[in-house]
Amino acid sequence: MADLHDANPAHEQGSVYDGLLDPGTVDGHWAFGTSFEDPLAGVDTTVPEGVDAGELASYCLMLGDDALVLSQRLTEWCSNAPDLEEDIAVANIALDLLGQARLLLARAAAADESVVPALPDGSPVPPEDALAYFRDEPAFRNVRLVEAPNGDFALTITRLFLFACWRLALLGRLATSSDQVLAAVAAKGVKEVTYHRDYAARWLVTLAQGTEESRRRTEAALATVWPAVGELFATHDVEERMAAAGVGVDPASVHEEVDEVVDHVFATAGIERPGVPAMSGVRGRAGRDGLHTEALGHLLAEMQSVARAHPMGVW
């Protein structure tokens, strides 16, 4: 019993866990003190001259929500992927996208704080978390491609491939944005999404050229995902104005560049573009306008419920 007694933190000799309770010690920082801080601390977030701050914030939410929602979907593979390596790979990609989302949502809040949902006085929730966890579905500006359920591994890979091709082309052009924060986030993102695209393209070829079953699943996945691809290149009013201002990228302008890569990979994989019609919007409204499929509501309910239950919570 003496050993048990010695393990009691109240005992004068203390225990191995004491370090966790004292933020002043070297070991303490692993448990405390790693609180969320402004990811843009010290970064100049001045809105470029002549640019509408509200529209810049909306634009950042679009790019940020694309990354956030797909990150959340990919995270669902944790401990469920076909093998350990893919589990870790998909989690790594999700983490990169989450990091991009955090910076973009923080940039949206810094440009126009009126986009951030109101929280109770004294809430410690930082603006980018308030945007991620306390906005309702119609305030999310992501394209509908990213919100659809994961399906099987073939569908996850097919969606990730199309998304990464598109995002890499967008970020490549965004790296010369007149908004310094967007330019920096994009330049960093290019390096990361290059790995994501290579990963998904290799798997797409492997699955299409693999067994009869893997090919059947890949073709079925492509037919399921394809209707949401057209929306990626449909220019929203905000995107058009931000592109004209030298801040954003008109997605229609990357269509050709994306098609070249997609066609090359499809040819290598021996698969064809499916002849399925594009998913329609409602009276011209789609994901960028906050009009989503049923899937997003379920995703947000899971992602947001804990944070919403504790608006004063410190994590």
């Binding site: 790979a89 790594n92 960093k188 990361e192 290799r202 990979v265 290598t268």
Partner: protein, 174 residues
């Protein structure tokens, strides 16, 4: 606010340069290239240290810990007022890992990153496993096969030596 004596800034630089990476403690933040600048200014309240760091990856979960470690160690060294700022541009590159950092990686069983490939125009797609000059940290063989481009940390890929069969981590070019 005036510029302060060099000795105070030199001390702050030395202390900041000794802080190690929380996930790869064989590397200092300076070796990793994350530590970009350290400045000391004195105002009415005393010396203020400002440290600039650049994240390795957008979602690097170690950033908050790096900040805390910098503040902690600089305070221990007698600087009461420490501010850590983020510098996003230029983006971190594995080319910034110092020679000493590369040696430390090898000693601890990690393969150091090669030079980052350059390209003009759109980023080229790579359908075959990335060709890299790797060295097995255990037996020194250059014959390794890529297990996965994504390892246990954002900045590493998984390799397996085909000579001695030992698995090892390679710090990715980015």
């Amino acid at each position: 606010m005036t510029s302060t004596t060099t000795t105070s800034e030199e001390l702050a630089r030395e202390v900041a340069a000794r802080v190690t990476d929380p996930e790869m403690p064989m590397l200092t933040l300076a070796d990793l290239g994350v530590l970009r600048d350290v400045r000391v200014e004195d105002d009415a309240e005393g010396d203020r240290v400002t440290v600039w760091i650049t994240p390795t990856y957008s979602g690097c979960p170690a950033m908050a810990t790096m900040r805390d470690d910098l503040v902690h160690d600089l305070r221990q060294a007698g600087f009461a007022d420490v501010v850590v700022r983020v510098r996003l541009q230029p983006a971190w590159s594995s080319d910034w890992v110092s020679e000493r950092g590369r040696q430390a990686l090898a000693v601890h069983g990690l393969s150091a990153p090669g030079p980052v490939p350059r390209h003009e125009g759109p980023v080229p797609l790579s359908l075959l496993p990335t060709r890299r000059a790797v060295t097995c940290p255990r037996c020194g063989s250059a014959d390794g096969e890529l297990t996965s481009e994504f390892g246990p940390t954002a900045c590493t890929a998984l390799y397996r030596c085909t000579a001695c069969l030992e698995p090892y981590l390679h710090m990715k070019e980015i």
